[in-house]
Amino acid sequence: MISVDGVVHAFGDVEVLDGLSFDIPAGCFAGLVGPSGCGKSTLLKVLAGLVVPDAGQAMIDGHSVVGRPGRAAYMAQRDLLLPWRRTLGNATVGAEVAGVPQAVARGRARELLDRFGLAGFEDAWPAELSGGMRQRLALLRTVLCGRAVLLLDEPFGALDAITRRDMHDWLQQVLADDPHTVLLVTHDVDEALVLSDVVFVLSDRPARVVERLSVDLPRPRTSESLVGGTFVTAKATLLEALEKGRA
């Protein structure tokens, strides 16, 4: 589970996080939406151990992650694939850092290639992969880190609408088979609603939680879910909260 308690952070004079607090139970898929530049990515980096907050506590499964990277699997907006590693090498880089023997890591990666739509591309360089494939490979790398918690920072932001829809369906399947606690940052309200069990809405900088919305849509959620009444109501609530959070 993820627990954020009173996290405050500023970059120089710019206050970014203003005493954020929330909890995400184990196995829950949480969405985090908010205006551009409100500090969503910073919050994720705090949880990844990359940014040490000025004050407050951030815990994963009961352990403080302040300044201690390595407890959650983090995925940034850009795929950040290593151009000098082929598909399998990129997929297993997290396992490699964690000291998992290469043969074991590669074996596990091979098992998941098909599931991640990368079968037949084991030996391709990143430059040879399409945008969707690169993103799935980045997700595969994140999953193969072997952490219970995934921190995803707008993973589908760079994809076109159709590819993105496919990725939503696919991610739900992947998570149904292999449950994780997920915190997904997005600026796309639809995406947050399709994927999340709970959505947090952040205010403009410095960010506070202005809304916590449970999404009670049945899974698996399909394109039909997007036109149902429940969805429309939830979306209206989120949009209203976003508006409220603007200064």
Binding site: A48, G49, G70, P83, V93, G94
Partner: protein
Amino acid sequence: MSALLRRLRVGHWLPPALLIAVLLLAWELGVRIFETPAYILPPPSQIVTAFGEVRGLLAGHTVTTLTEALVGIVAGAVAGVALAVAVWAVPMFRRLAYPLLVASQTVPMIVLAPLLVLWFGFGLTPKVVVVALIAVFPVAISTVQGLASADREQIDLLRSMGADRRDILRLVLVPGATPAFFAGLRIASAYAIAGAVIGEWVGASSGLGLFLTRSQTSFRVDRVFVGVAVITALSVALFGIVDLLSRVAAPWQRVERDQRTRMNRKAIVAAVLTVLLAACGGQSAEPGSSSGDQGSAAPSAAPEGTGGEVREVTVMLDWTPNTNHSGLYLALDDGWYADAGLDVRIIQPGEQGGLPALASGDADFAVSVQEAVTPVRAQGAPVVSVAAIIASNTSSLIALASEGIGRPADLAGHRYGGFGGELETELVRTLVECDGGDPDAVEFVEVGNVDYRAGLERDFYDFVWIFDGWDGIRLEQVGLDITSIRFADHFDCIPNWYTPLLATSQQLIDGDPQLVSDFMAATARGYERAIEAPDEAADALLAAAPELDEELVRESARYLADEYAPEGPWGVQEAAVWDEFTAFLQEAGIAADDIDVDAAWTNEFLPAGDGAAGSEHPTDGG
């Protein structure tokens, strides 16, 4: 094989190959149509013929130069990476090192190289240092950029996985900087061969630079072009090899590049293959011909009468090997040095001559000239002349017959082409004045290293200073119609002096007079034999320096046989020659007034020296 041919993509390298062919054809035709003399610009066909002649020789020189270039480039690359890492990791170091690094590139190598020779001797080291200095800059600059361009977010991502510094170095920094490193190395590789050649230019016993200087001084412009062609081919090959290495080390680069544009580097691969094949061919044509290695009497030959101890002796020439040196080569070839327990190594110097090497202790003996000995002594390097190689000055002033210059007075109103040295000017003026001409009517033109034949024929100047035993022979051979004023015919006007002579250092005379005596005994024997049997002398010289023109060497050896010592035993110097020449320099204000002339020379170590003219002993504390 057909797959290979397909991969070579004939269509891509055929157009440039055709262009080169057209250019060569135009060159060939141009030279023929305009009847350009071969010593100005030889046609490609003649260069090809010359290549055939010297192919066996080239193999040895090529191996030497290639070794220097490769060792140098590896050293430069290692140093460049080390610097890059230091600059990248320590910001303070960046501020300290960057100006130095940039400044290091502004020092002209041609100036630095002679100094490196003085610091590191004549072996592999100074050449390697030149190449390394050339290589270090592009490698360091490029690698720093490669390291600095590491993706911050990528590093963060790995940190989020719990990666430590070593993981990040291994996973991100090293592979990320690899293409940049190779980009720098590629630039370095293009210059490495030329750098090694510059290093050889100022002193070497083997290598393409040596091949070039020797070809140049025996007036074989066609062979100079052969040398240039080999240097170019090697540079292209080295570039190609580095390019191949970079593809192996960073295979993803090609994929990334292919995504953008398709670059054609197959031509380079083809060139590499061609050169490698050619090099292999050259090698096998004449196995074991390490022609450039002119020195080293087999030290294994048991020395007699010296208790088995072999003493190493380094002799520095004054120029490329020529017939002035044939006594040395003969003594070496016939084993007379070895018999005396001496392991003699003969080294070709660069422009600065051999005296600085004597002063620095890098050489034990040096071929030099009288006018160089006194100034070097004045600078505090006690060098001592121990033999006159040729008894009198065999210089002449020559002009085309059409100039109508028959006697020194005729030089007035004409242009003298030279190096602009004080001695040249003073001698020409004295000659003219003595013969009743007006010395102020002589125009002095500084021409540097222009071939005197070309200078005369192209009318850069009207008359020029030559040495009869080498330049004069060549003019006879080409049959140029000239008139000549021999210095020897005017010793009533101008002094005689010793050019060349053999010098050693006062330190060696004081420290090991026996060595000096032994060396001089064998050397004198060599020259005496060269006087008796000029063809043997020519053979010995040609064996050591096969790059020289054989006809020229043989004719010159015959000429010099009569000039080395026409009136007595070889090597003996006369006090009068030393005194009169020094007085001449002093009167002209070229030399200082307080010169101890007697300390500058001795006959003491000549077998014929005892009781010979003017045997002042510098060993007495000169």
